[in-house]
């Protein structure tokens, strides 16, 4: 018995050492939103190329922190790093950090109103008014005007938002900041904000659960979550003036419409994008990759993966309800990969 235990211990120890010695082990950490597609990518890429990538979905904030501290090889975030964070990275590591968009997501308004079953239309004015607490009844003219023929009740609106810090909240508040200057001045954009009104639910499932339970409520969830769980959601009027119901095509369209103006570092928000069919509450999610790697094998493996992810990897994203990158962005990124040294 003792011998067996000893042998087992040896096997485990050696096994561990072998794993630890694997030169192609890359560690990453960050956003939870793209975790399903990342883990699928890492798995497929590992099978095809033998490169093993570990990813901890610890949240965008923690991802930025860890890559800055240098405890992981790359980070991932649902919002681009701000100027202060980029500066802090350079100060700490002496090199720059590069942003690479990988897939796209969107956030949709979802609601539960007694007697209303069809999809509602929301104007930017209505959404920002509701979330600022200025529009407090469902039959307010600002909502009713865009929903002719729908019998909206005169009940109080119950606003539901995310209570946990989240990239979803970042995208939602980024959109509201762009369409309403009061929102921008009083609340702003971020993963957690000081909400003027409403109740908080934890995670997409918490928000959805609260909305289902609370009559006359409205909230926001990720498109992926709404699509996979058959949560009904409304259309939003975009910058071109058309009412768009979010789907994978209209989200990719938003990125394509914004592609011309994307800066070289890809740190860009594509909410309220121009383009007739663009869904206005869309966003990239990014991988954060250091400009220089000390270890050349690691660098090549990282670059190899990145190239694969934005080209061949895009083939599987729609199965998981993510929107793919438009061709213009992929081309631009392929050029940018050479910056990694």
């Amino acid at each position: 018995m003792k011998r067996l235990a000893g042998t087992l211990l040896l096997v485990v120890a050696f096994g561990g050492m072998l794993l630890a010695d694997n030169p192609l082990l890359i560690n990453g950490a960050g956003a939870t939103f793209p975790y399903p597609i990342y883990s699928k990518w890492f798995d497929e890429y590992h099978k095809a190329n033998g490169t093993q990538i570990n990813y901890q979905s610890v949240g965008s904030g923690a991802g930025i922190k860890q890559v800055t501290e240098g405890t992981v090889d790359f980070g991932a975030s649902d919002g681009p790093m701000n100027d202060d964070q980029v500066k802090a990275y350079r100060a700490k590591n002496g090199i720059g950090i590069l942003h690479f968009p990988t897939v796209l997501g969107a956030v949709v308004p979802t609601y539960n109103i007694a007697g209303v079953s069809g999809a509602l239309n929301f104007t930017p004015e209505a959404l920002s008014g509701i979330f600022l607490g200025r529009i407090s009844k469902w039959n307010d003219p600002a909502i009713a005007a865009a929903n002719k023929g729908v019998n909206l009740p005169g009940n109080d609106i119950v606003v539901i938002h995310r209570s946990d810090g989240s990239g979803t909240t970042y995208i939602w508040t980024d959109y509201l900041s762009k369409v309403n200057s009061d929102w921008k001045d009083k609340v702003g954009k971020g993963t957690s904000v000081n909400w003027p009104v409403g109740l908080g639910g934890k995670g997409n499932e918490g928000v959805t659960g609260l909305i289902k339970q609370t009559p006359n409520s409205i909230g926001y969830v990720e498109l992926i979550y709404a699509a996979q769980n058959k949560v009904p959601y409304g259309s939003v009027k975009n910058a071109a003036g058309s009412m768009v119901k979010a789907d994978l095509a209209s989200v990719t369209e938003a990125a394509a419409a914004a592609a011309k103006t994307i800066p070289d570092d890809f740190r860009v928000s594509i909410t309220n994008a121009p383009g007739k069919n663009a869904y206005p509450i869309s966003s990239f999610t990014w991988l954060l990759i250091p400009e220089k790697f000390k270890d050349a094998t690691k660098r090549d493996a990282m670059k190899g993966f990145l190239k694969w992810a934005i080209t061949d990897g895009q083939g599987v994203v729609e199965n998981l309800s993510y929107a793919k990158l438009p061709k213009e962005v992929v081309d631009k990124e392929l050029k940018a990969i050479s910056k990694v040294q």
């Binding site: 702003g188 971020g190 957690s192 904000v193 909400w195 918490g206």
Partner: protein, 315 residues
């Protein structure tokens, strides 16, 4: 003792046992000190910027980097108070029944279920809250309270189903098993002589229980309440699922609120700003302090009441 040399005591194992157990005991103190130190250092940024004002302001704005702990302290205290108000009489009553009045055949299986309840993970209690307690509160309990006791500021305002009261009730359900389990054990350990003496003096069964056994076990019962209080103050998952997660201070128990543990769990992972992170760590420090103060007060209270009493019950 003095005649045996250190070496011989070492050889007999006494000294080794003493050293090893001392190290274990010391590690508890070490961990506590380390914890406070880490929280203190981590909160430096926020401590320097806000100082004592942190405790008294109610704005929590991660974008503008303005942080105040008051709504969270308020929420933590109110939910813990509501839960103890409900759980203490219920729990102690149940413990008295199980230990003193129920036949063993009933008492043992019931105790099994109570221990089971104590072992259920808090997220399950949260789900219970979301799917059962919240709809019940919204449809029945809160409207009924509003209609009957609506003249009190405690039961006013819009009814959402979630809020301080709901969180307090879910917490009460969670801490009752602790109170029952510990109190029952304590009551069972009261010497038989005490009961028999009371009965021999002509008291009824209930008089012997209420006037002799329960006072004898007071220290232990208080201990079970401390345990419940500690759990209620620090409970995170179940609270965040039912409290509404809105930093408000309201006299109404129907109002949604927020607790310290809940906001830390919610915002920590995605806190991108250093000041935000530091403020969350300082909230952790506040929770630590709160637990410390409340425990101290409870102990003081116990000391005062037992001195006034018969002086029994100290082990």
């Amino acid at each position: 003792m003095g005649s045996r040399s250190f070496l011989s005591r070492l050889r007999n194992g006494d000294e080794i046992a003493r050293l090893v157990t001392f190290l274990f005991a010391a590690s508890v103190v070490l961990i506590t000190v380390l914890l406070i130190y880490e929280l203190w250092v981590g909160a430096a940024l926020s401590r320097h910027k806000f100082g004592l004002v942190f405790f008294f302001t109610r704005v929590w704005d991660p974008i503008a980097e303005q942080f105040g702990a008051l709504p969270f302290i308020y929420g933590t205290l109110v939910t813990a108070a509501v839960s103890l108000l409900l759980a203490v009489p219920l729990g102690i009553g149940a413990a008295i029944f199980l230990a003193e009045l129920a036949p063993q055949k009933l008492s043992d299986p019931l105790q099994f279920f109570i221990d089971l309840l104590a072992a259920i993970p808090s997220v399950i209690y949260g789900l219970l809250g979301v799917f059962i307690v919240i709809p019940m509160m919204r449809e029945w309990v809160q409207p009924a309270l509003k209609n009957t006791l609506g003249f009190l500021p405690l039961f006013r305002g819009p009814v959402y189903g979630m809020g301080f009261l709901t969180a307090g009730i879910v917490l009460a359900i969670m801490v009752i098993p602790y109170i029952i389990s510990v109190s029952r054990e304590v009551l069972l350990s009261v010497p038989r002589d005490q009961r028999e003496a009371a009965l021999a003096l002509g008291s009824t069964r209930w008089e012997s229980t209420w006037k002799v056994v329960v006072p004898f076990a007071k220290t232990g019962i208080m201990g079970s309440i401390f345990l419940a209080l500690a759990r209620a103050l620090g409970e995170t998952m179940a609270v965040t699922m039912v409290i509404g997660n809105t930093p408000t201070i309201s006299s109404s128990l129907f109002s949604p609120g927020y607790s310290i543990a809940a906001v830390i769990a919610n915002e920590f992972t995605e806190a991108t700003g250093d000041m935000h992170l530091s403020a969350l760590i300082e909230l952790g420090l506040v929770l630590f302090l709160l637990t410390f103060i409340l425990n101290g007060l409870a102990r003081l209270l116990m000391l005062l009441t037992t001195q006034r009493g018969s002086g029994m019950g100290h082990a």
